[in-house]
Point group: C2
Chain length 140, copies 2
DNA sequence: GCGCATTACTGGCAAGTGCCAGTATTTTTG
DNA sequence: CAAAAATACTGGCACTTGCCAGTAATGCGC
């Protein structure tokens, strides 16, 4: 009996999320929030659907997840030219928080790569990105 | 700038969880619940702390996650010889549900491995299990 | 045996995740 | 142009995840 691909992924994800969240804790950001700020900085201004796709996240999930960041004053949301959509950008406070968090993120990366090995970590990231990019439409 | 190990893991995890949850949907079980039932069947009777360790899950998280399964009548909980602890086992209904779900789990495994390749999937599982087994205690 | 530290679990909180139903807006169609 | 379809987001629900604080029970030291 082979092992469950999904369970292996979820367990590794829990373990590594704990590491990154613990290292990022002094910033008040979790790793999901840090990642969202990073993507928003890179793509801003961007509306929710393409951002959700970039994050490999459900559209509704993204809508929920931006709430705490918006309440914190890290995001500015404005109505797009298509008035159904909203464009997200970082506020100056958001950029400052991200800049601070990046220092600790580097530390978490170092801890991970020291444990796993830089070569293995790079290969793993490549494989995982390949997996995340797929659709997995099962045959009907 | 290298990519975030944690983000790559979480994105792949979300993507693959969506696949497994979608395939398992007819059973009413999510992949986390399926995995818990599998581990409980393998280790029963077992109390919550060692089960949480086997699942690479926080003790409190496991406590929360068994609730829906217990409400469904899939788990029986009894007080252990150490009366602080609770021993979990599968009920006959839980075993039956797991047996049914296993058929669809095999299908999800097939979809994943057809897409990623059996060899790559096996290597990925090995790496992920190795990652999940580590503690990542960052230096003080 | 009593008191205290330790341990096993529970409850509350906040955030993460995704489904579905509903609303507002745009686009397509007749 | 009006009606219908498609699209972008929001709210509600359930579960997932993990922290912290509290409760109950055990075990240790005296």
């Amino acid at each position: 009996m082979t092992l469950c691909n999904c369970l292996a992924l979820r367990q590794a994800s829990r373990r590594v999320t704990q590491l990154y969240d613990r290292v990022l804790a002094p910033t008040g950001l979790r790793v999901t929030q840090y990642s969202m700020l990073t993507e928003i900085e890179r793509l801003a201004p961007i509306s929710l659907i393409p951002l959700a796709e970039a994050m490999v996240m459900d559209r509704a999930t993204l809508g929920h997840n931006i709430r705490p960041l918006q309440a914190q004053g890290y995001l500015s949301l404005s109505i797009g030219t298509d008035r159904r959509s909203r464009e997200v950008s970082l506020t100056p406070a958001g950029k400052a928080a991200l800049k601070q968090a990046r220092l600790l993120w580097h530390k978490a990366q170092s801890v991970f790569e020291a444990e796993v090995g830089p070569q293995a970590a790079a290969e793993l990231r490549d494989r995982l990105q390949d997996v995340a990019a797929r659709q997995f439409l099962e045959p009907v």
